[in-house]
C-alpha cells in the first residue's frame, strides 16, 4: 500500500535535520602543505602527512581555523575558548591512517542558528555544532556495473583529496514544518550555501562536491511527544535532491508505520533517477569510533581578540541584508524570497547601484534574464551580461529610446556577445523611432490604407486605432513607441 505524501502528512509530523560538509577554499590542506587545487594527476598532491606514512605528523592550517570561526560567527554560534581535535577510528581504504582527525565532544563552534526564509515566513533552524575535520581520498571501483562498490572487483585509490579541510555543520532537529518540510530543508541548504559563498570560505558547489548534504528524517504521529526513529540519507547531490529526499522518506516511513512496521535506524542511499531511497548500512549496531583526543595536535584556544577581528571582517550577513533590502526596495517577504531563490540578489543590487530602479532591476533579472539562465542551465550571475548593462538598458527604456520589445532584442545581442547595449543598439539599428516626422509618414500611409478603420474611429470607436498602431509598428519594424503613435494618430484624425 503506497502512502501518498499528502496522506502521510495528515497523520504524521515530519522532523528533519541536516549534516552539511563544506570543503574549505584554503590554499593548502588541513594538516600539511599540499595544494588543494582540483584536477591534478592522481597521487601528485600528496606528502608523508596526508598519505599517513609511518612517522608523519599533522600540523594545523591556521586559515582553516579562521574560516571555521568565521562560519560559526555567521551562524550565530559561540566559539569555543579551548577545544581539541579527536581521532575517529575506523578502517577504510580511502583513509590513509584508518582514523580521521575530526572533532568529537569539543567542536570549535556551538549553539547557533540560521533564519531561513520560506514561503514568506522565517524558520529558525538551530545549529548544534560546526567543527573541522579532514577529508578522505577518493576511490574508483572497477568491475561492477554501477561504479559503486557493489559488484566491483577491486578499487583504485587516489589520495589527492585526503586531508582537504572539511567543515561539518550539524543542525538541531527541525520540527513543526509540516508539509513544508522538504521546502524548508531545501531552503536551508540554499541559504546556507549563499551565506558560505558570501563569506568567501568555499566555492560551495554541490555538483563538484565542495558542499555535501546528509539528510536525517523521522516521523512522529501528530500529538505525540515522542520523536520517531530517524534515518540518514546520503548521496544527496543537489538542492532538488534535498527536497526530494525528504519528501520520499516521509512517504516511505509513513507507509512503514501505517502497515504496523517499525522504522529501522539506518543509512539510506538517495537515487537521482527514481527520487527514492534504498537501504544502505544498518545503524542499529552503531559504529563505535573509539574517539579520543588527538595526541599529535595540541588544543586550539582561539584568543578572544582574534575571534573579534574575524567577527569584524564578516560581510553583511543575510538576515541584515534581507532587512535592509526589503526596506529599501519596499519588498514583501515573498518578493524578497523570489529574488533569493533565483540567486539574483547580488546582480539586482548591483544593477540598482548602477542607476536602475529596484522595480526595473527586478523585472529584468527575474523575468527575461532568469528565463534565459534557466534555459542555459546556469545561474543568472553567470550570464554574459553585467548589472551595468542591464542598468543602461533600463535607462534607455526610461528615456524612451527603447521600448520593451526592443530592449529584449538588445539583451539578446549583449548575451550573444555582440557588445555593450549601446553598441548593439547601433549595430542592429534598434533605436525607437522618436522623430515624429518619420512616424507621421507611416501614420499617413496607414490612414490612407485603412479608410474603414478611420471611419470607425471618427465614429467614436477609438479602440479601432489599435489597428492603425499595429500597421505603423509593422511598418517601422517595431521601432516606434506605440503610445506616441497612438497619440499622433488621434491628433491626425481630430
Amino acid at each position: 500500500m503506497t502512502v501518498t505524501y499528502e496522506e502521510a502528512l495528515q497523520k504524521y509530523e515530519p522532523v528533519f535535520g541536516l549534516e552539511t560538509h563544506v570543503e574549505l577554499g584554503t590554499t593548502t590542506k588541513m594538516f600539511c602543505g599540499c595544494p588543494t587545487t582540483f584536477g591534478a594527476e592522481p597521487n601528485s598532491h600528496v606528502c608523508p602527512v596526508c598519505l599517513g606514512l609511518p612517522g608523519s605528523l599533522p600540523v594545523t592550517n591556521r586559515v582553516a581555523i579562521e574560516y571555521t570561526i568565521k562560519i560559526g560567527l555567521a551562524l550565530n554560534c559561540s566559539i569555543a575558548s579551548w577545544c581539541r581535535f579527536a581521532r575517529k577510528n575506523y578502517f577504510y581504504p580511502d583513509m590513509p591512517k584508518n582514523f580521521q582527525i575530526s572533532q568529537y565532544d569539543e567542536p570549535l563552534c556551538v549553539d547557533g542558528y540560521l533564519d531561513v526564509l520560506v514561503g514568506g515566513k522565517t524558520v529558525r533552524v538551530g545549529i548544534e555544532r560546526v567543527h573541522l575535520e579532514e577529508d578522505t581520498g577518493k576511490s574508483l571501483h572497477i568491475g561492477g556495473a554501477t561504479g559503486r562498490i557493489q559488484g566491483a572487483d577491486y578499487s583504485l585509490v587516489d589520495y589527492n583529496r585526503a586531508g582537504i579541510p572539511l567543515v561539518e555543520i550539524v543542525t538541531r532537529p527541525v520540527p513543526g514544518t509540516g508539509f513544508l518540510a522538504p521546502e524548508v530543508a531545501r531552503a536551508y541548504v540554499t541559504q546556507l550555501r549563499d551565506l558560505l559563498r558570501s563569506l568567501g570560505v568555499s566555492d560551495v558547489r554541490m555538483e563538484e562536491g565542495s558542499l555535501r548534504c546528509d539528510v536525517n528524517t523521522s516521523l512522529s504521529p501528530y500529538g505525540s511527544d515522542v520523536w520517531g526513529t530517524r534515518t540518514e540519507t546520503k548521496n544527496v547531490n543537489s538542492l532538488r535532491s534535498v527536497e526530494r529526499a525528504v519528501r520520499s522518506e516521509i512517504s516511505r516511513q509513513a507507509e512503514v508505520l501505517d502497515s504496523g512496521g517499525r522504522v529501522i535506524q539506518e543509512t539510506r542511499h538517495f537515487h537521482e533517477d527514481t527520487g527514492t531511497t534504498t537501504s544502505g548500512r544498518s545503524k542499529e549496531e552503531a559504529q563505535d569510533y573509539r574517539y579520543f583526543p588527538e595526541p599529535d595536535l595540541v588544543p586550539v584556544a582561539p584568543p578572544r581578540d582574534w575571534v573579534e577581528s574575524i567577527a569584524a571582517s564578516l560581510p553583511e550577513l543575510p538576515a541584515a541584508r534581507r532587512a535592509r533590502l526589503m526596506s529599501a526596495w519596499s519588498l514583501s517577504e515573498l518578493e524578497f524570497e523570489a529574488l533569493q531563490n533565483a540567486g539574483a540578489l547580488d546582480v539586482v543590487e548591483a544593477t540598482v547601484a548602477a542607476g536602475a530602479s529596484p522595480a526595473d532591476a527586478r523585472k529584468w533579472w527575474l523575468g527575461e534574464l532568469a528565463r534565459r539562465a534557466n534555459d542555459a542551465g546556469i545561474d543568472v550571475s553567470e550570464l554574459p551580461i553585467t548589472p551595468a548593462d542591464v542598468a543602461r538598458i533600463s535607462e534607455l527604456v526610461a528615456a524612451g529610446s527603447l521600448n520593451d520589445r526592443l530592449a529584449r532584442q538588445v539583451i539578446e545581442g549583449v548575451l550573444d556577445e555582440e557588445g555593450t547595449p549601446d553598441e548593439v543598439v547601433a549595430a542592429r539599428g534598434l533605436a525607437v523611432v522618436s522623430d515624429d516626422s518619420a512616424l507621421l509618414s507611416a501614420i499617413d500611409e496607414a490612414i490612407a490604407a485603412n479608410p474603414d478603420v478611420v471611419a470607425r474611429i471618427r465614429d467614436g470607436k477609438v479602440q479601432a486605432a489599435g489597428v492603425l498602431v499595429g500597421a505603423v509598428m509593422k511598418a517601422t519594424r517595431g521601432k516606434a513607441d506605440a503610445a506616441r503613435v497612438r497619440d499622433l494618430i488621434m491628433e491626425r484624425l481630430s
Partner: protein, 98 residues
C-alpha cells in the same frame, strides 16, 4: 574482572586481526590478566581531577596556509603492493564507508 574468549574475538575483529583459534586460546587469558591489572586505576580517587591528554601545555600551534613540496607520484606509490593507473590498487571493498 575477566574477559571472555568471545569478547576477545570481538576485539580482534574490531582491530582487524584475523586471529587463529590457537592464538585466541592463548591471548584471551593473558588479556584478561592485563585488564585486571590495569583496572587498578579505578581505585584512585580522582573526582574533579582533569584528565591530561597533552603533557606540554602547548596550545595554538599552527602553520601558514602556504604550499610545501609534495612527493612525486612515484615516491608516493613506491611502497604500494599493487599500482594501477597511478593509483593504489586495493582488493574489492565489501562495506560502504561508515
Amino acid at each position: 574482572m575477566s574477559i571472555t574468549r568471545d569478547e576477545v574475538a570481538h576485539l580482534a575483529r574490531l582491530s582487524r586481526l584475523a586471529l587463529s583459534d590457537e592464538e585466541l586460546d592463548h591471548l584471551a587469558p593473558q588479556l584478561g590478566q592485563i585488564i585486571s591489572a590495569v583496572a587498578q586505576v579505578q581505585e584512585v580517587a580522582a573526582d574533579g581531577i582533569p584528565p591530561t591528554s597533552h603533557a606540554t601545555g602547548l596550545t595554538n600551534v599552527f602553520r601558514d596556509d602556504e604550499p610545501a613540496p609534495c612527493l612525486t607520484p612515484e615516491e608516493a606509490l613506491s611502497g604500494a603492493p599493487e599500482v594501477e593507473l597511478q593509483r593504489f590498487k586495493v582488493p574489492r571493498i565489501l562495506a560502504e564507508e561508515p
